[in-house]
């Protein structure tokens, strides 16, 4: 081994390397171990309670979505169970003016952003391809092809930088997506233009059934940033405080014009990949138990209680509010329209081709005759 080698390396490159252990502020029992590199002194008691509430809401809405799927109200749904801290902590480090470019599992981030969860469920219900206007919330549409949205986020960040607008773009993808080309092109583009873009990877250990060990030979996902000259951070994604602190640091870098960062939030998906998946085929009960002990909400709740920031009364109140929210979503989905067939031709082109007139007329005739909508 050449012991002089690390010292000979340019200091700038060494700074890009993630530390061996993920940043953790709360241990598995919820005891806080502060880290001067990743302070949380800007979080007041209300922020801490907000973080907790957002996680509980995310979990409850997730559960609601799964039961709606079981009732046939949603076609399919991709759960975030277990990933609440990663999504809530990361999103909480952004300002309202910042943008988010999600994958399809980011219900928790959307909730922090203030989207109506019911809106997002329309996509899973199959009524519309998406249910919200991204300009109302600075939350882009969910993207189904893996990793493709990373480059949209980079493009948005480059445009904002050109315009001198002070915003940060956070783009989300999974561990599996890091094998696709687009996130790499995105990281490279963002780095070349010093774009204010954060690449937030939720490493939930599996891409459907494929474990990380079969996805890559890189030491960690965070190491991939070095290839683009961007710093990689690893964080305990089940620790909402650490996720917040690490993301905040990346946000500060971006705002200071220092360019993009890659964050690997190490977490675990406790549910199936989607409601169509059977995870018992690829993971063991022992592994699940292991991660169950690191539950992000239980851990943070223990911390809040120990610090006197939450008592039973507050906890019950949060739980009751969340129940109300969940039943509201149930109502909303039961009553939601099934989609207007004539909308099929809307919004394809600003300026539609002439053929649309004939095709619309055909559908109208079929609808009038009642011959449409019957499965062949």
């Amino acid at each position: 081994m050449n012991r002089s080698e690390p010292a000979a390396l340019d200091q700038r490159y060494l700074q890009l390397l993630p530390p061996a252990e993920p940043v953790q502020l709360l241990d598995d029992d919820g005891v806080l171990h502060e880290n001067p590199d990743f302070p949380i002194d800007d979080l007041g008691p209300d922020d801490l309670r907000n973080l907790y509430r957002y996680m509980v809401v995310s979990r409850r809405i997730d559960k609601q979505a799964i039961s709606l799927q079981r009732q046939g109200q949603l076609g399919v749904y991709a759960s975030l169970l277990g990933q609440e801290a990663a999504q809530v902590g990361g999103a909480y480090a952004l300002e309202d003016r910042d943008w988010m470019f999600p994958s399809f599992r980011e219900m928790g981030a959307a909730i922090v952003r203030g989207l109506e969860p019911g809106q997002l469920l329309h996509q899973w219900r199959g009524t519309w391809l998406s249910g919200h206007n991204p300009y109302d919330s600075n939350f882009a549409l969910m993207s189904i092809p893996i990793g493709t949205q990373a480059i949209h986020g980079a493009g948005y960040a480059i445009a904002a930088a050109f315009d001198g607008e002070d915003i940060v773009v956070m783009t989300y993808f999974g561990d599996g997506a890091t094998s696709e080309g687009d996130p790499h092109e995105a990281m490279n583009f963002a780095a070349v233009y010093d774009a204010p873009c954060i690449f937030f990877v939720q490493n939930n250990q599996y891409a459907i059934s494929t474990p990380l060990s079969e996805q890559t030979r890189a030491p960690t996902i965070a190491h991939k940033g070095i290839g683009y000259g961007i710093p990689g951070y690893r964080v305990d994604g089940n620790d909402v405080l650490a996720t917040y602190a690490v993301t905040r640091r990346a946000v500060q870098r971006a705002r200071a014009g220092e360019g993009p960062s890659l964050i690997e939030a190490v977490t675990y998906r406790m549910e199936a990949h989607t409601t169509s998946d059977d995870p018992t085929r690829y993971r063991t009960p022992e592994e699940m138990d292991e991660w169950q002990r690191r539950d992000p909400i239980a851990r943070f709740g223990a911390y809040l209680s120990a610090e006197g920031l939450m008592d039973d009364e507050l906890k019950d109140r949060i739980d009751a509010d969340v129940e109300t929210l969940a039943s509201g979503i149930r109502e909303e989905i039961y009553e939601a329209p099934h989609g207007d067939p004539m909308e099929l031709f809307e919004h394809v082109y600003v300026d539609p081709p002439a053929e649309f007139a004939d095709q619309r007329a055909l559908l109208t005739r079929e609808l009038d005759a009642g011959t449409n909508g019957t499965e062949g």
Partner: protein
């Protein structure tokens, strides 16, 4: 004044940049170099490197960046250096650029122009002579256009840049140096209109892009046979104006569709289908398709055997006259 198609395209870009400061152009080597075909010549020099800039060598990245920039409010023009290198960007173009408006229920507009130098006839190495237009014409949400003349190159590119729908703009690279008398800027013609480039009575030739000139040459050669051929420049594959062709066929009774792309499932099939649907009783003979063979684009020394030329088109006309 005689201008080349390359000059017309370059002028269109300069004029669009002047007109709207949200127009930006990026791609591989488009800045300092002005593009490998010099279509973006002097844009960066004149408008700065935030309006016209070189990107890393990554086609998916280029197309995907355009999505983000369009969402932000820019009007991106992207250059694919060559036809055969559009494929890495295919995913971004068909899954996002084409669908974003529909997916977002009209809230996100994608005013993106994707410039692709396409087609053969310049003796290039493999992957530099492809005709991938049918892939894009088959994708709902995209417009697909290609000019056949220098003046129309100016017109169509200008219309594409200011279209709020995404446009795949195919530049017939072997016609970059083709000259025409024109004074720019010209009044532009809207996308979606085919035009008669040469009136005639014996049969109709319908073509687009590089084959428009070949068809005009064919019509000239046909005069020796006593045939008076009408030549239609399709200009826009999506939206496709079959009306002009149908009208022509109603007069001539015969149609030959010509393109460089492989014949099977090529755009010629669409033209033939529309014409038999709308002008069946006017047809004196089955519609003939003249295209490339159904093989990968051949090596440079053999491309002349692959590409439709005057003789192959004349033979097809003769076939229609046998009925």
């Amino acid at each position: 004044m005689a201008i080349t198609m390359a000059q017309a395209l370059n002028q269109s870009l300069h004029d669009a940049f002047e007109k709207d400061d949200r127009v930006v152009l990026f791609g591989e080597d488009v800045g300092t170099l002005g593009g490998v075909f010099r279509i973006t010549d002097k844009l960066q020099e004149r408008f700065g490197d935030q309006r016209c800039f070189d990107t890393p060598l990554a086609e998916a990245g280029i197309a995907g960046t355009a999505v983000g920039m369009a969402m932000y409010g820019f009007r991106p023009i992207i250059e694919m250096q060559f036809d055969g290198f559009t494929y890495p960007a295919f995913e971004q173009i068909v899954s996002h650029i084409a669908k974003m408006r529909n997916r977002s229920r009209g809230t996100v507009t994608m005013p993106i122009t994707i410039r692709i130098p396409f087609g053969g006839g310049i003796g290039a190495v493999e992957h530099h002579s492809e005709s991938p237009e049918a892939y894009f014409a088959h994708t709902a949400g995209l417009k697909v256009v290609t000019p056949g003349t220098p003046a129309d190159a100016y017109s169509l590119l200008t219309e594409s840049i200011f279209s709020d729908d995404p446009v795949v703009f195919f530049e017939p690279k072997r016609r970059y140096w083709m000259k025409e008398d024109a004074i720019l800027p010209i009044t532009t013609e809207p996308i979606g209109q085919s035009v008669v480039r040469r009136p005639g009575t014996t049969a109709t030739l319908a073509a687009y892009g590089p084959m428009v000139k070949t068809c005009l040459e064919t019509a000239e050669a046909a005069e020796a046979e006593g045939w008076d051929l009408e030549v239609i420049d399709i200009r826009s594959l999506v939206p496709f104006d079959h009306g002009t062709i149908v009208e022509s066929v109603e007069r001539t009774g015969r149609l030959v569709v010509v393109h460089e792309a492989q014949t099977t499932a090529g755009f010629g099939a669409e033209v033939a289908a529309r014409v038999q649907q709308h002008a069946f009783y006017s047809l004196e003979a089955p519609v003939q398709r003249v295209g490339g063979f159904d093989i990968p684009y051949p090596a440079a020394m053999l491309e002349e055997f692959f590409l439709p030329d005057v003789d192959r088109i004349l033979d097809a006309v003769a076939t229609t006259l046998e009925y």
